[in-house]
């Protein structure tokens, strides 16, 4: 990969958006794709293998069933996603890549809010909308498995496009990258 020369000083936030941005993005993607694999497997178990929904727990959930039912874990992941999208955003210096990454951040904010609602209900024992289990707003209409697939897709797609533009910035892009992520030659010309 083409590596731009980047600085080696500054605050944590400055460094995570410059010389550490590539490593941080890779670590973040490792977590996100691992989460995706679990959802892929869970939906495969339901839609293709015909397993009952309560028994379809993905891969890790088969070994540790508590992972699937734990609202804390779901909320924790939503929070990690939100924080990572926010923390890594300054590294997206181009106009298009920044726009798509910000869209993902905005959608994830609402997704996180939904999980926060579930978490509060799980902790308090008081369930909204007269339901017998913790229920989010969208869950009033959409079953949980499909809703999760939906949220994860509409958050990840803008991330995907943002990352694509981050890796391969259009020639018209005027933003000056501070990190080593881009394969485009413009990153090679970046100042130290």
């Amino acid at each position: 990969m083409a590596h731009a020369a980047v600085g080696t000083s500054g605050t944590f936030m400055e460094r995570i958006n410059s010389e550490w941005h590539e490593v941080a993005m890779r670590a973040f993607m490792f977590v996100v794709l691992g989460h995706w694999m679990e959802h892929f497997l869970q939906t495969f178990q339901i839609y293709v293998l015909g397993w009952p929904v309560p028994q379809a727990k993905g891969m890790l959930g088969m070994v540790f069933p508590g992972l699937v039912t734990s609202e804390v874990l779901h909320y924790g992941y939503a929070l990690v996603m939100l924080l990572a999208l926010w923390a890594l955003r300054p590294g997206f210096t181009g106009k298009q890549e920044r726009w798509w990454w910000t869209l993902a951040l905005c959608i994830q904010f609402f997704h996180h809010f939904e999980h926060a609602l579930l978490q509060v209900q799980a902790l308090s024992g008081h369930y909204l909308f007269g339901r017998p289990v913790p229920t989010s707003i969208a869950q009033l209409w959409v079953p949980r498995v499909e809703l999760h697939l939906f949220y994860n897709t509409i958050v990840f797609v803008p991330m995907l496009v943002g990352m694509y533009y981050h890796l391969f910035p259009p020639e018209t892009e005027t933003g000056r990258p501070q990190c080593s992520c881009a394969w485009h030659s413009r990153s090679l010309a970046s100042p130290v």
Binding site: F150, V161, Y165, L167, E171, H184
Partner: protein, 71 residues
């Protein structure tokens, strides 16, 4: 194959899985969920598919010569 096309291909495989699962999901939910829930599921799964298609169009149409300049 250029790096850009390799990344495009990886992203395409991923979105292809999303598209396949949503297609199977729409069929499954129509057969196993009450009509109102099945409609809502089809709506969100269909929207997910649309997002995946948009991603494919953008990354394959997107400009950017790549590191080696061949795009």
């Amino acid at each position: 194959m250029t790096a850009q096309n390799a990344i495009r291909l990886a992203m395409t495989v991923f979105t292809g899985i999303v598209l396949a699962l949503t297609a199977v999901g729409i069929r499954w939910t129509s057969q196993h969920q009450p009509p109102s829930a099945a409609f809502a599921s089809a709506l969100v799964l269909g929207t997910s598919s649309a997002f995946a298609v948009i991603a494919l169009v953008i990354i394959w149409r997107g400009a950017g010569p790549g590191r080696d300049g061949n795009g």
